[in-house]
């Protein structure tokens, strides 16, 4: 058996190689996504028609098309785009006539913040529900937990959002209906967005806990005299966290993508809204940058999740 090296140094060496490999894989995914989106968005239709007023003469339409480089074959357009992009120039938004990168970057923190808050909320509900459901398996608590989680999957997040606005902003007047600025502002959007994954996360925690609670080492812990509380919340939960962390990365990405509905309901100035509106108005540069940044976030969050395994599960530190 390998002797124990000091944890940080050994881990560092192995992780660097692994890390580099994953970053390379990530880069390939990102470039791939950018190509696909570039081609598909141009298939979706003609942005010029949307930009110019209806009575614009065809000559003007053609001229604008030429100016924007949209008359070139698509592959050529991509090369031009890629060339400029490597220099940091992602073009100007057709609609806003401002640099697309700036437009998207300015709104990105708001969406990331919202997605993180939603994720935190979902974990805050899923972990206790999942653990209690497992510990009191078959009981009323378990049934309630499952029912609650099912509700989460059945209710669409815009509906939850509107419901929250109705109850807490209009009727009870304890929370602001829209906008940003304080913790109170992020509460309802985070709940509306984080609602849906609670079901899946609860199920995962529950089944992981059930597995773990049945294990020999938990039995050993019990035999050694640990109280149920310590066994469940310290020794069992850490093991059950591993599958949960796996899907957290996926759900974070899902929340980034699904945020636009919640952003619209709560007038949250995020990137989701920006990109979706750009899709509808065929604002290709903004769509391109938006998708690019989102795919970078997605790849990064998955990478972080993978790296975090090493923190949670020491067995994994050495077998890359």
């Amino acid at each position: 058996m390998r002797p124990s090296g000091t944890f940080p140094r050994e881990w560092g060496k192995v992780v660097t190689g692994y890390f580099l490999r994953r970053v390379l894989q990530g880069l390939i995914s990102i470039v791939g996504a950018s190509i696909v989106i570039f081609f598909i968005s141009r298939l979706s239709g003609d942005p010029i028609v949307l930009l110019l007023p209806t009575e614009a003469p065809p000559a003007l339409i053609e001229q604008v098309r030429q100016e924007m480089g949209l008359n070139e074959p698509v592959w050529k357009q991509y090369l031009i785009f890629a060339g400029k992009a490597l220099g940091g120039d992602f073009g100007k938004s057709y609609r806003w006539q401002a640099p697309a990168l700036e437009l998207v970057l300015d709104r990105l923190p708001a969406t990331i913040g919202l997605a993180l808050a939603a994720l935190a909320f979902s974990i805050l509900l899923a972990v206790p529900f999942g653990v209690l459901s497992a510990v009191y398996r078959g009981s009323l608590i378990d049934t309630l937990g499952k029912g609650f989680a099912m509700l989460g999957q059945a209710m669409p997040n815009f509906w939850v959002g509107l419901l929250l606005v109705l109850i807490f902003a209009i009727h009870l007047d304890v929370l602001p209906a829209y906008g940003t600025g304080s913790a109170a502002h992020v509460l309802m959007p985070a709940i509306a967005l984080g609602w849906y994954p609670v079901a899946a996360q609860t199920r995962i925690v529950r089944s992981a806990m059930l597995d773990v609670l049945d294990s020999d080492y938990i039995r050993m812990g019990r035999a050694v005299g640990a109280s149920e509380r310590v066994l469940v919340w310290k020794y069992a939960l850490r093991n059950a966290a591993i599958p949960l962390v796996t899907i957290l990365g996926v759900y974070f990405a899902a929340m980034l993508g699904g945020a636009f509905v919640v952003e619209t309901v709560f007038a949250w100035p995020g990137v989701g809204r920006t990109v979706v509106e750009a899709v509808f108005s065929r604002d290709f540069p903004v769509v391109q940058v938006g998708v690019l940044l989102t795919s970078i976030l997605f790849v990064t969050s998955n990478l972080l999740v993978d790296l975090s395994y090493g923190f949670i599960d020491p067995r994994i530190r050495y077998d890359r």
Binding site: R219, M220, G225, Y235
Partner: protein
């Protein structure tokens, strides 16, 4: 009995309440263990030996298992009547502890060995403060002969070999200097050399501290080497009990004899190993008479009609059989 029995189990009945019915896993078991003595509890799987030990520790599955009758006296205290928090605080892992089957899975993979071995000290408040716990852990790890324990406190279970892990588990079990140690098939998954080491360790502990040990095993060879007495269980009941020599030389119950016959000997020239024909009876609906009868070479109508009473063949040698006596050696 002249010596005060460390452990006295009287008429223990443990039932498992399952969907398909009530399983009478332990159906009237009585035994005793003296200080410094090792009792071997032998039987095939499903005989109730693990359930007996779980009942003593009160570690039965919460939703389905329950001790429905009997008492378990340890040092004069009836463990079956204690409230759960007292049992956990003062007894389980402290005065009676357990080492279970598979060392590979008995340790929590995501916590350090230092944390896990320190756990019993923390729970039973035998060491206060991180420093004291650490010292106690190092001490007990050296006791189980783990080299350079102070360097390995931050290691994880997967960084230890199988044999080392078994020692770690044993360390957890003896950390609080228990009075009774229940070892449930502790050597079944280890190779022979490690088995020998484990056995030596247990004996040493026993010599030093008067520890009583119940060794649960299906391996009569291991039982012979370290047990003082052996109790044989079948279908939830003890069918024969006696000291080691008697059991191996003059076992009286047909089941015990069959078990002895199944041990392959070095130099044995047989094509097929002896196996006992048939299956143990259902414990949900056990038969009225002797439970081994269907598989017994000495079966008579009487055996099926009534359950045989306990018969003391010699001091300390008890069996429950209508036709006890030396059997044919196959």
């Amino acid at each position: 009995m002249s010596r005060q029995a460390l452990l006295r189990v009287e008429n223990l009945r443990t039932h498992l309440f399952l969907k398909r019915g009530v399983l009478k896993a332990v159906d009237g078991v009585s035994l005793h263990v003296d200080e410094g003595e090792t009792l071997g509890l032998v039987g095939e799987s499903g005989s109730g030996k693990s359930m007996t030990s779980l009942s003593i520790m009160r570690l039965l599955p919460k939703q389905s298992g329950r001790i429905v009758d009997g008492n378990v006296w340890l040092d004069g205290t009836d463990l079956t009547s204690l409230p759960e928090d007292e049992m956990a605080r003062d007894w389980r892992g402290r005065r009676v502890s357990m080492v279970s089957q598979d060392p590979m899975t008995s340790l929590n993979p995501v916590f350090t060995v230092g944390d896990q071995v320190g756990a019993p000290f923390r729970y039973h408040k035998l060491a206060q403060g991180a420093r004291a716990v650490r010292d106690a852990v190092v001490k007990v790890l050296s006791r189980v002969r783990i080299p350079s324990p102070e360097k390995r406190l931050d290691n994880y279970p997967h960084q230890f070999s199988g044999g080392m892990r078994q020692r770690v588990v044993s360390a957890m079990a003896i950390a609080c200097a228990p009075r009774l140690l229940i070892a449930d098939e502790p050597t079944s998954n280890l190779d022979v050399t490690i088995q020998v080491q484990m056995i030596e360790l247990f004996r040493e502990l026993q010599r030093d501290s008067g520890l009583g040990i119940i060794l649960i095993t299906h391996d009569l060879g291991v039982a012979a080497s370290i047990c003082d007495r052996i109790a044989v269980m079948y279908a939830g009941r003890i069918v024969e009990v006696g000291d080691v020599r008697t059991m191996y030389r003059a076992a009286a119950h047909p089941y015990t004899q069959a078990l002895l016959n199944s041990i392959p000997h070095l130099g044995q020239r047989k094509r097929r190993l002896y196996a006992i024909a048939g299956q143990p009876p259902s414990l949900i609906d056990p038969p009225v008479g002797c439970r081994f009868a269907p598989r017994c070479p000495r079966r008579t109508a009487k055996c099926d009609a009534d359950y045989p009473p306990q018969v003391e063949l010699a001091p300390g040698h008890v069996t429950a059989c209508w036709h006890p006596g030396p059997g044919a050696v196959a």
